[in-house]
Structures are given as structure tokens and as C-alpha cells.
């Protein structure tokens, strides 16, 4: 029994910060991000006996959080405003406010969802293409292509030479 508690605590201490950052960039709201992380760990406790390996547990947690976020859209349809939220939201206090960081975040925000999510999983979660493929249920090659294109799109956006939609349509 103690072992389960210790393992759960190690998951929380090891991954809550990474999960929070991933959640935040999925929903861009601090309150919702914390709720998503809380709910993800609540689910992980129920499945703790199946999560005996840290690396596998990490993928499970990110995958669960992703599903929790998707479930949010099933319950309500949040109104999307494509305005530059960084200009108005206090949620962005304390993050890197240099122009190049702002430009990167803008570039990521403009990515189509199917490109943004694998890139966030790679950059924030440290997952390989194969891990991500297993998490989002598509082939590894497709993930590789999406990540490759996402990075190109970000780079082009930074250089001001393209918009995100063009490569996505290819």
C-alpha cells in the first residue's frame, strides 16, 4: 500500500509541472489548466496499479490530460477569439516577454490543431514521434511529418515568409 502512495507521489512531483505547462498551452487558461492536471491525477490514482513504470506512466498522464481537454469541448463549446490573448490576459504574467518569445508563441498558436499538439508533446513532454503516435492514435510516420511541418511553419512564421495554413494543406 505504501508503495502505491509513494509511486503516486513520485508521479505528482515528477510530472505535475510538465503536465501543467502542456495543459496551459492547450487551453490557455491557468484555472482550467490546473483543473485538467488535478483531474488527470485523480484518474491516475484509480489506475495506479496499471502504472508501474515511470516512463509509461508519463505517456499515460499526458494522454489522459489530452483526453480530459477534449472532453471539455464535448460538454461546452468554448467561444474562440483569435485575438491576441497575450495582450489582455493576466494568465500570461511571468512568462518570457521578449519579442522573439512572443513571436514563437504567436507562431505556435497559429498552427492548425493537428500540428500544434504533436509539437507541444515533443517540446514540452519530451516525447519521441513513436510515443506521440501511440498517444494520439495515428501512425509514427504521420507524426513525424506533422512535427517536421509544424517546425517549418514556426520557422517560416518567425521569418514572416508564410502563413501556417499553406503547408498544412499540402
Amino acid at each position: 500500500m505504501q508503495d502505491r502512495h509513494a509511486f503516486f507521489a513520485s508521479l505528482v512531483t515528477g510530472y505535475s509541472a510538465e503536465l501543467y505547462r502542456f495543459a496551459f498551452w492547450l487551453c490557455r487558461d491557468r484555472g482550467i489548466a490546473e483543473d485538467l492536471v488535478q483531474e488527470t491525477f485523480a484518474r491516475s490514482w484509480k489506475s495506479i496499479d496499471q502504472l508501474r513504470d515511470m516512463a509509461a506512466a508519463k505517456a499515460w498522464l499526458f494522454s489522459t490530460l489530452r483526453n480530459e481537454n477534449a472532453r471539455r469541448f464535448e460538454r461546452v463549446q468554448p467561444e474562440y477569439d483569435d485575438a491576441d490573448l497575450e495582450q489582455v490576459a493576466g494568465d500570461y504574467n511571468g512568462i518570457d516577454d521578449r519579442p522573439e518569445a512572443f513571436a514563437l508563441r504567436t507562431a505556435i498558436r497559429k498552427l492548425p490543431e493537428e500540428y500544434r499538439e504533436p509539437l507541444l508533446l515533443q517540446v514540452l513532454g519530451g516525447f519521441s514521434g513513436e510515443d506521440i503516435a501511440a498517444m494520439i492514435g495515428i501512425k509514427a510516420n504521420a507524426v513525424m511529418v506533422r512535427i517536421h511541418r509544424a517546425r517549418n511553419m514556426v520557422r517560416r512564421q518567425l521569418l514572416g515568409t508564410d502563413d501556417a495554413g499553406n503547408e498544412a494543406q499540402q
Binding site: 505504501q2 502512495h5 509513494a6 503516486f8 507521489a9 513520485s10 508521479l11 505528482v12 512531483t13 515528477g14 510530472y15 505535475s16 509541472a17 501543467y20 505547462r21 496551459f24 498551452w25 491557468r30 490546473e34 492536471v37 488535478q38 491525477f41 485523480a42 490514482w45 515511470m54 516512463a55 508519463k58 500570461y92 504574467n93 511571468g94 512568462i95 518570457d96 522573439e100 518569445a101 512572443f102 514563437l104 508563441r105 505556435i108 509539437l119 507541444l120 515533443q122 517540446v123 514540452l124 519530451g126 519521441s128 514521434g129 507524426v143 513525424m144 511529418v145 512535427i147 517536421h148 517546425r151 514556426v154 520557422r155
Partner: protein, 229 residues
């Protein structure tokens, strides 16, 4: 593997870059430059997306877990369960409460006390490195890191392993500290060297090298090579 294949694969393969890609990177200057730009983009993305984590998040998650279980078990379990979680989290989250500066100074001191490899030192066999890491409870996957020197040491009274590994043609130092936790990444630097103490689910690692690129490369490889993801 040709250069086009390398470039298509490298960006998407990160952070666990297969040995085949690393090999291509070592001998192809143009692809090495490409990979350096990719690494740089990674670092920029991580920094740009590094939103502050709410203080006490982990504590609140643990507490909620206690509360949920207490509701199921009945109130008489509350004191014992809360004490248990407090005890577990206290032992696992020392880093959260440790003074960050003091911790950083101790790590730098520990690194400074370690020997440097001699020029004539050859690469160590993977089995030797694996055995040493196994001694501190860390498993090791061979073929991902080139180690020139490895020794057991103590950091803050805990067992650790000091490694000197090759990265991008230079040496980088690594302290594997499975019993010491930090709550987040701590950057460290000195005269002519860069480094970081990085959080791992199982303790932490300190990595120093001559450049950010070397440190990032070693970090990625060490995470892939050990069970300290």
C-alpha cells in the same frame, strides 16, 4: 542515410535521437549545422512556453488525493492518511523546499571536487558504466552515451555517480543524483562553462559543458540512456 533523409528525420526524432542520426551528424558538417539550428529552436520553444507553475500545485494534488480516499475510507482514517502523504511528499519533495542557491552551490562544489579525465583515457565499456549506475539504482541503456570517466561519489550525503561524457567533440560532466530532487530546472554557469541541474522523476542530474548545445545534447542522451526520464 543521405542528408535529405537525415533532415526529414532529425527534427521529428528529437529528443531521443537514434545513433544512426548522431553518426550522420558527426561526419556531415552541413547536417550538423542544420541539427544545431533544430536544437536551438527547441531551446527557444521551451523557453517561450515556460509558463510559471502555480505554487503548491503538487501539494494540492496530493491533498486532493488524500481527501478523496478519506471520503471513501471514513473519517477515522483521515489523520493517518494525511500523515502518510505528508511523510511521502516530504521525502520526495525535499527539492521544493531546499534553498535553491545553497543547493546549486553544493552541486557546483561537488562537480569541482571531481577529477578530470586524462587525455589518454579511452572510452569506458558500457557494461562498466551500467554497473556503476546500477549501484545507485539507475538502469542504463548502452550505445547512446560515450563515457570517458565514471566514478561513485557523494553529493549532500547521498549516493551519486559522476560521469565525463563526450558531446559534440568536447567533454561534458554529469552528476547523476537519484536521491536528490529539485522542483524545477536550475541553470548553472561559470567561467567558460554552462550547465543545468535538471529535474528527473527519480532525483536529478547536473550537466555542465562548454556550450549550451553540448549540455542540451548530453541531457537528451542521458535521459534516453537512463531510466531518469
Amino acid at each position: 542515410m543521405n542528408c535529405e533523409e537525415f533532415r526529414n528525420a532529425y527534427a521529428a526524432a528529437r529528443p531521443r535521437v537514434p545513433a544512426e542520426l548522431e553518426a550522420h551528424r558527426r561526419w556531415c558538417r552541413a547536417c550538423a549545422d542544420f541539427a544545431t539550428h533544430e536544437d536551438q529552436l527547441d531551446r527557444q520553444l521551451v523557453q517561450a512556453l515556460n509558463v510559471e507553475v502555480p505554487e503548491g500545485l503538487a501539494d494540492r494534488i496530493l491533498q486532493r488525493n488524500v481527501n478523496a480516499r478519506v471520503r471513501r475510507l471514513g473519517t477515522w482514517h483521515f489523520a493517518a492518511a494525511a500523515a502518510l502523504v505528508a511523510l511521502v511528499s516530504a521525502s520526495l519533495m525535499i527539492g521544493s523546499w531546499t534553498d535553491r542557491r545553497e543547493f546549486r552551490n553544493d552541486i557546483v562544489t561537488a562537480l569541482n571536487e571531481q577529477p578530470l579525465p586524462r587525455v589518454q583515457d579511452a572510452l569506458l565499456a558500457d557494461a562498466e558504466v551500467a554497473e556503476l549506475l546500477r549501484g545507485v539504482g539507475v538502469s542504463y541503456r548502452s550505445g547512446l552515451v560515450s563515457v570517458r570517466l565514471a566514478r561513485r561519489c557523494q553529493v549532500r550525503g547521498t549516493e551519486a555517480v559522476y560521469l565525463v561524457v563526450q558531446a559534440n567533440g568536447t567533454d561534458a560532466s554529469v552528476l547523476v543524483m537519484p536521491e536528490l530532487s529539485v522542483d524545477d530546472r536550475v541553470e548553472i554557469s561559470g567561467d567558460g562553462w554552462q550547465g543545468a541541474i535538471v529535474r528527473c522523476p527519480k532525483g536529478s542530474m547536473a550537466i555542465t559543458g562548454l556550450s549550451d548545445q553540448a549540455v542540451a545534447s548530453v541531457e537528451a542522451n542521458m535521459r534516453a540512456a537512463t531510466n531518469m526520464l
